[in-house]
């Protein structure tokens, strides 16, 4: 299946075109900055930094994080096709994907908790211990995703 993917015309274009791979990589880093950047700011706020910044204000911003995620899902998939067999047998790659899935799931949970707090307290969210634990886990997952992603080239 993965070797078939590697031989599709899209995969061959990514692998052989002079510009496709570098442009996709550049797009991927912008998407990374949007996704990890926004989620990291949200997580740090939930952990108690940036007092004065309203935690529930991060709710509408998650649309942007999702936009970054979609940019990276597309650019990442295209990069993947060019060396599908290599990537699929790379441990750091699989760890990276696992971290991203867990990080996005975590974002969904944090999002619904924040919505609940917004509804309950009328704007002035009280940060519970459980939301802090989730934020800490989320932050670690995104850092782990970056580490694993970079190590694909080394391991």
């Amino acid at each position: 299946m993965f070797s078939a993917l590697e031989n599709t015309s899209v995969a061959l274009w990514v692998g052989q075109s002079l510009w496709a791979y570098p442009i996709l990589l550049s797009t991927h880093i912008v998407g990374l900055a949007i996704v990890v950047g926004i989620f990291a700011m949200r997580d740090l706020r939930l952990l108690g930094f940036f007092h004065g910044l309203c935690p529930t204000a991060f709710l509408p911003l998650s649309k942007m994080a999702w936009m970054g995620f979609i940019i990276n899902a597309i650019s990442g998939f295209l990069l993947f096709t060019s060396q599908a067999l290599t990537f699929i047998s790379s441990t750091p790659f699989l760890l990276k994907i696992a971290c991203i899935i867990a990080g996005m799931a975590m974002a969904g949970v944090i999002q619904s908790k924040l919505r609940g707090e917004l509804a309950n307290s009328g704007g002035e969210a009280v940060l519970s211990g459980s939301i802090k634990t989730l934020a800490a886990a989320s932050l670690l997952l995104w850092i782990a995703a970056i580490i694993a992603g970079r190590l694909i080239a080394y391991l």
Binding site: P22, A33, H51, L53, C54, R150
Partner: protein, 162 residues
């Protein structure tokens, strides 16, 4: 200028030290990626709010994010200098690196303009009204320039290495 600096660094003690530790390079890269996420993440909120988006954020409270933006910048300045010292002859002649440095300097000037012209009056804004055009211009310039920095940075291995 860059090339004469590169010639001084090449084969110097720092250059040889960086090259001698196999794991240092990926560790620097990982740190550089984390740093850029902090820098951009903070600026996305500060700049978009300054341009009038995401008004759920209190305008001046977004400035609480500045320390993390500076932390991200500091991490990347440090790791960036080490990259340069680790491979000075490659970076100094690389067109993508050179454009990246010009863009970083331009982003710095833009931030300086913000600090001198907008920051002193920002608390007088009517936060319910549209942001002033000059503030929008500075905010979008910042985001576009830093995006350019990311793009040029990622293209360094592919573009114009002499």
């Amino acid at each position: 200028m860059l090339e004469s600096i590169a010639l001084i660094i090449a084969d110097g003690p720092l250059n040889l030290w960086i090259q001698s530790i196999y794991w240092l390079w990926p560790i620097l890269e990982i740190t550089h990626f984390i740093g850029l996420s902090l820098l951009l993440g903070g600026l996305i909120i500060i700049d978009l709010r300054m341009a009038g988006h995401f008004r759920e954020f209190n305008l001046t409270a977004t400035h609480k994010l500045l320390p993390i933006v500076f932390l991200g910048f500091g991490l990347n300045l440090l790791t960036g200098v080490l990259f340069f010292c680790g491979d000075p002859l490659r970076y100094s002649v690389n067109i993508s690196f050179q454009i990246k440095m010009v863009l970083v300097a331009f982003a710095g000037l833009n931030a300086l303009f913000y600090y001198c012209k907008i920051n002193p009056v920002i608390h007088t804004w009517n936060t319910a009204a549209e942001s002033p055009p000059i503030a929008k211009a500075v905010a979008y310039t910042s985001l576009i320039t830093w995006t350019g920095v990311l793009l040029c940075g990622r293209l360094i291995p592919y573009l114009g290495t002499g």
